[in-house]
Amino acid sequence: MNEPIVEPILAVEPEHAFETRAPLIPGDSVAGRALVVVIAIMTFLACLTAGAALLVAEASQAWRSDVLREATIQVKAQAGDDVENLVSRAVAIVAKAPNVESAHALTQAESEKLLEPWLGAGLDLSQLPIPRLIVVRLRSQGSEDLSTLRSTLATAVPQADLDDHRVWASRLGTMANAVVTLAAALFVLMIVAMGTAIAFATRGAVAANREIVEVLHLVGASNAFIAREFQAHFRRLGFRGALIGGLAAIASFAIASLLSFWWAHSPGGEEIAAMFGSFALRPFGYIALVAVCAAVTLLTGLLSREIVMRHLQKLQ
């Protein structure tokens, strides 16, 4: 009002600061707090699933890379064979092959050490027909050259058998892919469950704030304006829930990482690390968790906006 129509009813001149743009949808309610808890739990579980899937995918990649860059030759000596001679010949042939970085024949002692976990220590294994092993390190994963090498070996040292670990690597890969697919399915289910919870909460909030919606309509607010207000409200709730759940998940992975570091330096730690990886998320993993939290916040806001818009269209 630029020009007063009538004189002020009361002459009061306060100049103190006052609130100007509070949210139109009240933020603090039992339903709102419950939704924050639900979103926090779902975000935590979604982050755990995503992080676990990343760990498995990473570990599987490392396993496959290691396994496929290695081949093993078993030399099964028959009665009367000179084992050392056979092993030396096989190593000499393998060392000349292309794509082979190194070939190392395990000594009798090294072979016996490999069997210790199953047969126990202190046994004399010299009388057992234990094959001698040659560990072949390849320059790159898999190669057609191995078939040439296999046939060359079969001709020159028939007692030598080359295993390129492809079957084992394939099984590992299938298992890892299954775990990652399962994790992805769980992740999607959690997001769907969270979306459903948000949808119910939004409908509840619209019903609980029916009076506010009606007043907003009567003062000339458009549906888009009202939906934006609800979106902002739910985005705030989503952010709080995602922050709590995300921080809890990040803290869990950080603790797991510290524990795995501790295990790695304990007896038997190497085996656990070899089998399950280090449990340590790389920086990319933590970035992915933050991205999950951001996505949850956005999803909460956008989903609630869509639901409110539909509801308002029916209402009018």
Binding site: M1, V6, P8, H16, F18, T20, L24, H217, V219
Partner: protein
């Protein structure tokens, strides 16, 4: 500006609560809507504000048939109408300032653009020292003035006020009425629902729309 043609309203399958309403509110006119309690004044005000749809007849607002309005069209029309509700309908979680600024905020205006205007209007209606108070701590009269300020902030072409002086003392009631009269002189069409005969008698020039017995009778000036 506002025209009712054979308008009737019933709730569900019940009898008509209002029937055969034929009247118009002309630009820059001033009228009281009166009648006994329960006669349907508030219902008629809601029909005029387009928050109820008639079960028959046509309501034309600013030349447009309300039945043919789109949602956006309805929103645009409502921005040209100021409304003061009997129960105030202030939002309890907002301050008085925010409540009065609500229509401007709903139009998407920046707070910096309307702040001075809202403050001035609040001082004007005597709520300059209550800007930061929320409705639950306001007295009935203060709520009434806040509701009136909210209706006026958009400088409406049509002002609909349902018992706007019902919660204030007679002196303040007269001053608020004078405020509506001044608005009317500046070009706003005013419809005030009241059952206060003494108050209406002070403004003898105003047309009277009397609701009773499910129909409407119109008197230009004091009824016989």
């Amino acid at each position: 500006m506002l025209r009712f043609e054979n308008v009737g309203l019933r709730y569900g399958m019940g009898p008509e609560v209002l029937g055969d309403l034929n009247f118009s509110v002309e630009p820059q006119s001033f009228q009281f809507l009166t009648g006994p309690s329960g006669a349907g004044k508030t219902t008629l005000m809601r029909l005029m504000l387009l928050s109820l749809r008639p079960t028959r007849g046509t309501i034309r607002v600013f030349g447009q048939d309300s039945a043919a309005l789109t949602k956006d069209g309805l929103t645009t029309l409502r921005r040209r109408i100021g409304a003061v509700f009997q129960d105030f309908r202030l939002l309890d979680h907002l301050t008085t300032y925010e409540n009065v600024a609500l229509p401007l905020r709903a139009m998407g205006q920046e707070e910096s653009g309307y702040r001075a205007e809202v403050v001035e209007l609040l001082r004007w209606v005597g709520l300059g020292d209550r800007m930061n108070a929320s409705p639950p701590v306001l007295s009935g009269g203060e709520k009434q003035r806040a509701a009136i300020a909210r209706a006026l902030i958009v400088r409406p072409e049509l002002l609909l006020a349902d018992e706007p002086t019902g919660n204030v003392d007679p002196g303040l009631a007269r001053r608020l009425l004078r405020l509506f009269v001044e608005l009317h002189r500046l070009g706003t069409a005013v419809v005030i629902a009241t059952h206060d005969l003494q108050l209406m008698d002070q403004f003898g020039f105003a047309r009277r729309l009397v609701v009773g017995d499910r129909k409407l009778t119109i008197f230009d000036g004091l009824p016989p």
